[in-house]
């Protein structure tokens, strides 16, 4: 398949590259009479058009959709932003009781509650980004069938809104760190990089899953189960040290491991496990590219099947 992009450009951009024969015709006195930016819509048979220009031309819409998701979520809620703290906090408390107290798992340099909360924070961000992006594409079917815009912004806005939740829930993380006396180290500056990796991975996975779900509706039944499976397969509430030697290769298959371990290393000021992080970074970039490609390949049929 060809990888041609459409020539869409926004108004604020430089004049579109119109064919030379038409440029001589620019003898009009009014901007409204000049022919605007050129868009070429090719047939389905001509392959996937990546339309990267559209992403730029419509960039403000990404902001509006993210803003809408946040607004709508916090309107008419009893406790508003508290919910995004309560969810990981409650899970952390039960995990602290079962794994920290009863099973006495050794969580390394971070005290178990802080260890678990930091993991749950990133996990909740990742999984809700993928999940709400997927549901949001189907629930916005009225938009998809009535107006053109880069639909990838719908799952992207879900991840963007998740970043705001993450920021709010991080307040408790700071509180826990202060309570346990985990000091500030220069490595803390690395923490946002791991959040960024998690965002890229969530975006890639979100685009992939949401696009496939529009085409194959029953995939949405598989999503909660897959997410639960993925959480248990990742060191969210348990440390990687409990994985026996013969199974450690599994850690390199799961791109979330490097993100979680790297994030915690940044918090604790311990050495960052770079090989794992490299796997995560590579996987996030690949997920983003594959996710966008698959999304674009299916996007043009959304209006016909949604």
């Amino acid at each position: 398949m060809s990888l041609k992009t459409s020539d869409t450009t926004g108004r604020s951009l430089a004049p579109a590259p119109a064919p030379p024969t038409l440029q001589s015709a620019a003898s009009t006195d009014d901007e409204g009479e000049a022919r605007g930016p050129r868009v070429l819509v090719r047939s389905e048979e001509s392959g996937v058009q990546l339309n990267l220009g559209d992403l730029w031309a419509y960039r403000e819409l990404l902001y509006f959709l993210t803003w809408r998701d946040i607004k709508v979520r916090y309107k008419q809620t009893l406790m508003g932003a508290l919910w995004v703290v309560i969810q990981p906090l409650a899970t952390m408390l039960i995990a602290a009781l079962v794994f920290g107290k009863f099973a006495r798992l050794d969580s390394g340099p971070l005290p178990y509650p802080l260890f678990a909360y930091s993991g749950l924070l990133l996990w909740t961000f990742f999984s809700s980004g993928v999940t709400s992006g997927t549901y949001s594409l189907v629930s916005n079917s009225n938009l998809v069938t009535k107006v053109f815009f880069p639909r990838a912004f719908i799952p992207a806005a879900a991840v963007g809104a998740g970043l705001v939740d993450l920021a709010i829930a991080s307040v408790l993380l700071v509180g826990l760190a202060a309570y346990y006396g985990v000091g500030l180290t220069p490595s803390l500056l690395l923490a946002p990089a791991f959040v960024a990796l998690a965002a890229l991975l969530a975006l890639g996975a979100g685009m992939l899953v949401s696009a496939l779900t529009v085409k194959y509706r029953d995939l949405r039944h598989a999503l909660p189960f897959t997410m639960q499976f993925w959480m248990l397969a990742s060191p969210v509430i348990y440390p990687t040290e409990i994985v026996p030697d013969g199974w450690r290769w599994l850690l390199y298959v799961n791109p979330l491991v490097g993100i979680l371990e790297g994030f915690r290393a940044a918090l604790a000021g311990t050495p960052v496990p770079w090989p794992l992080v490299a796997v995560s970074a590579a996987a996030s970039v690949v997920a983003l590219l594959v996710g966008y490609y698959v999304f674009r390949a299916l996007e043009d049929t959304f209006a016909d099947v949604i």
Partner: protein, 425 residues
């Protein structure tokens, strides 16, 4: 000679759109079907990619060139491909064959209130909907006061729109749309549903847009409006352009071809008009005896039955029926206003609403019913719109109860009384 007005701003070349009509889930496959189908009969899947009975061409071999400043009316019967053409022009879906070249920003208004969210305030929705329709933030901010003034909703602009009446909702939504200034405007007649004042505003806006030198595509069944507004009309029939030219000529050709729809209209799966909340299933004209009938005695009452599925429990979708005559003039509109389901949230399921139209009311001639499903709570929504859903003839077989023909779009049998006031002695 090198004026831009002579160059096409929209070039549609050999455009075709093929849809699949499946049996069980016409629109989409389930993953199980995909896997199961692939395992069971790989060759069948391969063959399905090509031509077969399960596909149809909504558009085929369409060629059009439109110059700047043209206001092009697109008419045709239901299913002729008008909506598909609009969707391709507005880039909502891609053509199966051919290509479309467009110079300029395209604004498409295929429904009122695209992008409105019931939980946001009027102010927030102006920004959101404006951005979704393609406006920039700075542009919306600049026009904001004007948009609000046009809607006459200054007092309520910070109220959540779910508390708006349906009229307020439509006013605000239209006012956002009216301030969109694309080089190419694509408008569906769905926009023109609503009261007469609203329709007038809509048509005035289109004139204004044309005066500003913009290009407009206007799809409508409102033939008088098309004839008045457009200098060029394109008639689509079964996915092909069969006439393109002077409005009166094209409109006449359309009328003479007849309505091409009968007294019963049924929709299969995904092509049924509707949304996630409600979907039309069938519309039927029944005579007094309960038989499906396309020719009705002018003196006898008859019924129009609308069957629809409520997919989202708790919504209150009601059927709206508009009867229009051959000129496209709406004789009247009616919607369910009473009965045991009035205002009650409806559990998901199949409903049939029937309206009885009395005898001795309609004038003789052929009529067509446009059927929609709307709800007013929690938010005003147009779930489905089926223009030209069914057509029928009102026939005056035996001079009726009248003596000879009468003018007018209705022909009610009214009570007259005459008395002798002064005798001649």
């Amino acid at each position: 000679m090198t004026d831009n007005r002579m160059k096409p701003v929209v070039r549609i070349e050999n455009v075709g759109k093929r849809y699949r009509i499946g049996a069980l889930h016409p629109g989409y496959l389930t993953f199980r079907e995909l896997v199961g189908g692939a395992l069971a009969a790989p060759w069948r899947r391969l063959r399905r990619a090509g031509e077969d009975a399960r596909t149809f061409w909504a558009l085929r071999g369409v060629n059009l060139q439109v110059r700047q400043g043209e206001l092009v009316g697109i008419i045709g019967h239901n299913g002729a491909g008008k909506s598909t053409l609009l969707k391709i022009l507005s880039r909502i879906t891609r053509p199966t064959t051919g290509e479309v070249e467009i110079f300029g920003r395209v604004g498409s208004l295929l429904e009122v209130g695209t992008g409105f969210h019931p939980d946001l305030t009027g102010r927030e929705n102006v920004y959101l909907s404006g951005a979704i329709l393609g406006m920039r933030r700075a542009e919306i901010a600049r026009k904001f006061d004007e948009i609000v003034a046009f809607s006459e909703l200054e007092k309520f602009i910070d109220t959540t729109v779910k508390f708006y009446s349906s009229g307020m909702y439509v006013r605000l939504a239209f006012s956002v749309a009216a301030h969109l200034e694309p080089e190419i405007l694509i408008m569906d007649e769905v926009l023109a549903v609503g009261d007469a004042a609203f329709q007038q505003k809509c048509l005035d806006k289109m004139r204004e847009v044309r005066r500003a030198g913009r290009t407009v595509f206007f799809v409508s069944h409102n033939l008088p409006a098309v004839t008045r507004l457009c200098r060029r009309v394109v008639l689509l029939e079964r996915g092909q352009v069969v006439a393109d030219g002077e409005p009166q000529e094209v409109v006449n050709r359309y009328l003479s071809a007849g309505w091409r729809t009968g007294a019963l209209r049924e929709w299969g799966g995904a092509d049924a008009p509707g949304d996630a909340a409600a979907r039309l299933r069938s519309v039927r004209v029944r005579d007094e005896a309960g038989e499906t009938a396309a020719a009705l005695d002018i003196r006898r009452p008859f019924r129009i039955e609308v069957s629809f599925d409520v997919l989202e429990s708790g919504r209150v979708p009601v059927a709206v029926v508009e009867l229009a005559n051959e000129e496209g003039t709406v004789v009247f509109g009616t919607r369910e206003t009473g009965g045991e389901w009035r205002g009650r949230g409806r559990p998901a399921g199949r409903y049939t609403s029937a309206v009885t139209i009395p005898g001795n009311l309609l004038a003789e001639g052929s009529l067509v019913a446009h059927v929609s499903l709307v709800s007013h709570a929690p938010a005003a929504a147009l779930h489905a719109h089926a223009p030209n859903a069914v057509a029928f003839q009102v026939v005056d077989r035996a001079g009726g109860d009248y003596e000879g023909p009468l003018p007018g779009v209705v022909r009610p049998l009214l009570e007259w009384a005459t008395r002798l006031d002064a005798g001649g002695g």
